[in-house]
């Protein structure tokens, strides 16, 4: 029975490949990866138990992702669908991402068919409800969101092996959402909190993004970008990886403009390399300088 060791099964099932990819492509997020690993282990062991004729009830895998903007909730949800497909927990492994607008109707009798339509589409895969706290509006007691929540609850209970529901949203607002919908809180087994990225992790993310686009920083630009991140993190509306992506997009714009004025043919080197001046032209540095000057004056 050499081939049936958990490790062999783990590698044969293709789960290992998906988890390795997860490790390679997602920077940081240690608690999230740990939980995904746990779930993978449980499902594999369950399969072995089933082979031995032992009782193996599929666990409830409805999840809630909380975290600040840009911490990778949607990305992980997409991967989760793949992982669960490999493990044989869901049959099709597709992700249906919806928000309040897709679930809640505009007049009486509109909500139920709308919600059911979405649920039918998500069967066999993962239903990802972004900004789930919008479903419940405590200030309006006639709001149709409640009806949608009730249908979801029923499906989450009765069709546990047909679909996995993942709710996502900001931490504090999800907490109020759960405290006013205790039924929802008790049906969700996994609460995953996505931590903010550290500075070095953000830099790593930036490098991964650039690599995928066939760009790279020269050493001076890299230092400048590290400084940029330090300053940007202290400013309002910082959205982790999303802010990094936006910053890179702007740097690419400046890079393009700089090259556009060149009088000679461009080399491959020039087309791929982002220089410090592309980074340093950012508004963030100007704002930080102004703040520093103001502080010195005071």
């Amino acid at each position: 029975m050499e081939a049936d060791t958990p490790r062999a099964l783990f590698e044969a099932s293709g789960v290992k490949a998906v988890l390795d990819q997860l490790d390679a492509e997602l920077v940081g997020l240690a608690p999230v990866k740990g939980r995904i690993r746990d779930i993978a282990a449980l499902l594999l062991i369950d399969r072995l138990r089933a082979q031995q004729g032992l009782q193996s009830q599929p666990p409830s895998l409805h999840m809630c992702f909380t975290g600040n903007p840009g911490t990778g909730k949607t990305t992980v949800a997409l991967r989760m669908a793949e992982v669960l497909k490999q493990l044989g927990y869901v049959r099709k492994g597709h992700l249906v991402a919806v928000t309040r607008d897709d679930l809640v109707g505009q007049f009486i009798g509109h909500t139920a068919p709308k919600t059911k339509e979405v649920i039918k589409k998500a069967m066999g895969g993962v239903l990802f409800i972004d900004e789930a706290y919008y479903l419940y509006r405590p200030d309006n007691e006639r709001d149709y969101g409640q009806e949608s929540i009730e249908i979801l609850l029923q499906v989450m209970e009765n069709h546990r092996d047909d679909l996995v529901v993942i709710l996502a949203g900001y931490k504090d607002r999800m907490d109020t959402f759960f405290s006013s919908n205790p039924g929802m809180a008790s049906r969700i087994a996994h609460h995953l909190d996505f931590p903010d990225y550290r500075e070095d992790e953000l830099l790593q993310i930036a490098q991964l993004m650039l690599q995928r686009l066939n760009y790279r920083f020269d050493p001076a630009a890299q230092d400048a970008f590290a400084r940029y991140l330090r300053l940007r993190r202290e400013q309002p509306h910082f959205a982790n990886a999303r802010s990094v992506r936006n910053a890179l997009d702007r740097i690419r714009l400046r890079h393009a403009t700089r090259l556009f004025d060149a009088e000679h043919a461009l080399t491959r080197e020039q087309l791929t390399e982002l220089q410090a001046e592309d980074v340093l032209a950012s508004r963030v540095f100007a704002v930080a300088d102004a703040q520093g000057a103001a502080r010195r004056a005071a």
Binding site: R91, K92, K116, K120, K121, M123, G124, G125
Partner: protein, 139 residues
């Protein structure tokens, strides 16, 4: 008398599991599944009532079964069939349809003879159920 219309109608009634597999086959072909019901079993009655929209964009057959169950709950004593619609250009029609629910008692059909001029006789059939009660109360 057991109604035989559509595919599989000479087989024993399909179980839910078998229906699920047929639906899975349809979705695999890229067909959209619709649910229709009627209480007029005449063979020339081709247009049945639709129960909701045809289910485009479905990935998994569990969604079909969910809808079918709610249809059975609403119309336990009606004929219900699944239709699979192929939207490929040039086909654009129903390519498979089979009955998934039928009333407990099916009284069958009466042969109707209509005498014409001379000694001609025209034949027709009519369901006893249709004759006995108005629409919606027949079974």
């Amino acid at each position: 008398m057991r109604l035989t219309q559509g595919t599989f109608s000479f087989l024993p009634d399909l179980s839910d599991e078998q229906i699920l597999k047929q639906a899975e086959y349809c979705l695999g072909k890229g067909w959209a599944i619709g649910i229709e019901y009627t209480d007029d079993p005449h063979p020339r009655n081709t247009y049945w009532e639709m129960f909701g929209m045809p289910m485009f964009d479905l990935q998994d057959a569990a969604g079909v079964l969910l809808e079918l169950k709610s249809c059975r709950q609403t119309f336990p004593q009606h004929y219900i069939r699944l239709t699979a619609f192929d939207s490929t250009h040039g086909t654009e029609s129903v390519v498979l349809s089979f009955i998934v629910n039928r009333p407990k008692e099916e009284p069958g059909f009466r042969l109707v003879r209509t005498e014409g001029p001379g000694r001609t006789v025209r034949y027709g059939i009519e369901s006893y159920a249709v004759q006995a009660h108005p629409e919606g109360e027949r079974y």
